[in-house]
């Protein structure tokens, strides 16, 4: 094996530009595959962490009439729980309303939340104020869309439980920054007690956010959704992303491996005299096949070294500084952090290396199999077989 390695190394070095072209293509595939896998891992980790922190906590107890995908269910999708049932839960009441910034009408979701809650990281403490005006908190995306900033006042129109219009000014006391678009875009957060007062829906909530001490029990008219239930769509999205990027890896690898395959076919064809000489000098056919296979596989090892030299500084930078995405990515409806820090763990890098090395070994072995069927005398004479 050592001899095969030495011969393979010398042969590859001797081939010059042809070797480096193959190595270059394979190294590029290496870098791109690791980049995308690191990007997906980074996105997955950050989105998961932030969704739980900002929105889902340990799960939601949702009114059965409320469907987050059906805005028409907001009107009737709310109810009350007894004080005992509300332990370890933070109520959120959702109503539809409209604001009028700069004379434009904008439909919003008006969300009432307990100002003292600590189940999610929304900065609700900022809503504690003695002001006569309704204190409100919005996300940065919402602030950008409405041109509102902290201290601004805007007219809000809503309906009470009977459907009667009411209107009043709200004051933006806090603009928070989050990557979780589902607590930001088109939403206004106010103290739930104020919303109860405004709508007459005293003690009502659309959903409750649970903390780690909450034990789900059967409550008529309510359905408990675990963290995993709430993240189901996200998990499915990530699975779909993984599958679609897998096809991209395969495409990139195919291009690189095709180059190796092509080189191997050419080598077996052009180096028949050399093959005959190896056999004449005492190598078995299997050893010659192994030599050619090692030669092909060595491309992937060289590509790994080149890929590491080129890729490591890039990956190091991206893992520490992240990639910044434009604002419109945050409006996609899924959690898409503005800055994604790529994650390159041992599993990502090692499985990518293994995939490329094994694939390179297979495509190197396939053309080399022909050697085992060669007549060594004819091969030594250089006759085409």
């Amino acid at each position: 094996m050592k001899l095969a390695m030495q011969l393979a190394y010398k042969n590859l070095m001797g081939a010059g530009l042809r070797t480096w072209l193959n190595v270059g293509v394979l190294a590029l595939s290496f870098i791109i595959i690791i980049f995308f896998r690191g990007f997906l891992e980074g996105w997955y980790n950050q989105a998961l962490e932030e969704s739980i922190a900002w929105e889902y906590a340990e799960g939601h107890l949702v009114n059965e009439e409320y469907d987050p995908y059906d805005p028409f269910s907001i009107q009737d999708g709310h109810g009350e729980l007894s004080e005992n049932e509300m332990k370890n839960l933070t109520p959120i009441l959702i109503r539809q309303a409209a604001i009028y910034p700069e004379g434009r009408m904008l439909s919003v979701l008006l969300k009432g939340i307990d100002v003292d809650q600590s189940h999610i990281v929304l900065p609700t403490k900022n809503l504690k104020t003695n002001s006569e005006m309704i204190p409100a908190m919005i996300g940065k995306n919402m602030a950008d869309a409405t041109n509102l900033k902290e201290g601004d006042q805007v007219l809000l129109r809503w309906r009470d439980k009977g459907g009667t219009f009411d209107a009043g000014k709200i004051k933006i006391v806090k603009v928070f920054t989050t990557n979780v678009g589902t607590v930001d875009g088109g939403q206004i957060w106010i103290p739930i007690k104020k919303l109860w007062e405004m709508t007459g829906l005293e003690n009502h909530a659309t959903l409750f956010v649970a903390n780690e001490n909450y034990t789900p029990t059967d409550i008529s008219g309510w359905q408990f959704k675990t963290q995993d239930d709430l993240l189901k769509d996200f998990y499915e999205l990530m699975e779909m992303e993984r599958i679609s990027t897998f096809f991209m890896y395969m495409l990139l690898l195919s291009i690189a491996l095709l180059a190796i395959f092509d080189t191997q076919v050419l080598s077996v064809f052009r180096r028949q005299k050399e093959i005959g000489t190896y056999v004449a000098l005492g190598m078995t056919r299997a050893e010659v096949v192994a030599l050619f296979t090692v030669e092909g596989t060595m491309y992937s090892l060289f590509a790994m070294i080149v890929g590491s030299i080129v890729g490591f500084p890039i990956f190091y930078y991206l893992a520490n500084n992240g990639i910044v995405f434009p604002d419109f990515y945050q409006d996609m409806g899924v959690v898409f952090p503005k800055r994604i820090f790529l994650v390159f763990d041992f599993k990502v890098v090692s499985t990518t290396i293994l995939l490329v090395v094994v694939a390179a070994a297979i495509v190197s072995f396939l053309p080399a199999r022909k050697i085992s069927k060669m007549n060594p005398v004819l091969a030594l004479k250089g006759k085409l077989q």
Partner: protein, 249 residues
């Protein structure tokens, strides 16, 4: 046509005021005279709705049939995008037929709170057909001068919980007994919508507005104009017009 319905609803409601109602005798007298002008058993109206946006306005032409305040049918004739769209209101139900999808849908719940063709009116505004006396306490609160005309000012305060507007204010011409203006208020007293009626002319012995402007007072812009091109009072309308079958015809 839908806007006409609102006017008819308002007017008919006044007509049904009875002496037991908490309104003053002056209010009843005024309302009876308004109804004499505005209310007919049936009507056919050809109209233009001018929806004035921030940058440009668009005009929707329609023809509407109505019988009392419970039945109405409207067919949109222009622009091309809306042509063929039909709306049928029977009591508290509203159906819309869209020719592009060849489908009839019934609007309910929050869908009724959507704007009609991008105008300043919601479907719900048009659906309100309860008698005002059932949901509001009315009284004359004074006199005012509007467009050079002396008017009675009537105030209506909600006496039930499930009304859209907690308070309404109406200015009625003292000479012709037609409403010139109506303001609709939120519970907090914030003025939400304003309806202005102008260009009155006498048709079949009735004073009737040629133009009605509906304005969402919280939004900038000029609101939505409803212009009456042609109106017939008390024509014969075949019953099939007010059936779901007529939506697809």
């Amino acid at each position: 046509m839908k806007f006409l319905s609102i006017i008819l609803i308002v007017s008919l409601s006044w007509l049904t005021f009875n002496l037991e109602a908490q309104s003053t005798p002056e209010a009843l007298e005024i309302i009876e005279k308004v109804d004499a002008n505005m209310v007919s058993k049936t009507s056919i109206v050809e109209s233009k709705m001018v929806i004035q946006g921030r940058r440009k306005s668009r005009t929707v032409v329609s023809k509407g049939y109505s019988e009392g305040d419970k039945k109405s049918f409207t067919e949109y004739l222009a622009p091309a995008r809306e042509k063929g769209t039909k709306m049928l209101k029977l009591d508290d139900k509203l159906w819309i037929y869209s020719p592009s999808t060849d489908r009839t849908i019934q609007l309910s719940g929050h869908m009724l709170r959507q704007s009609v063709m991008g105008s300043d009116l919601s479907y719900e505004d048009m659906m309100e057909d309860r008698e005002l006396t059932d949901i509001y306490d009315a009284k004359v609160i004074g006199e005012d001068t509007l467009d050079g005309q002396k008017t009675w000012v009537l105030e209506l305060n909600a006496k039930v919980d499930d009304v859209s507007y907690a308070k309404r204010k109406m200015w009625v011409d003292q000479e012709r007994f037609v409403p010139l203006k109506e303001d609709l208020f939120a519970k907090s007293g914030e003025l939400l919508k304003r309806v202005r009626l102008t260009d009155f002319s006498k048709t079949d012995g009735r004073w009737y507005p040629g133009k009605m402007n509906f304005k969402d007072m919280l939004k900038s812009g000029k609101g939505t104009d409803f212009i009456v091109v042609k109106i017939e009072f008390d024509p014969e309308i075949p019953p099939y017009i007010f059936s779901k079958a007529s939506l697809k015809k």
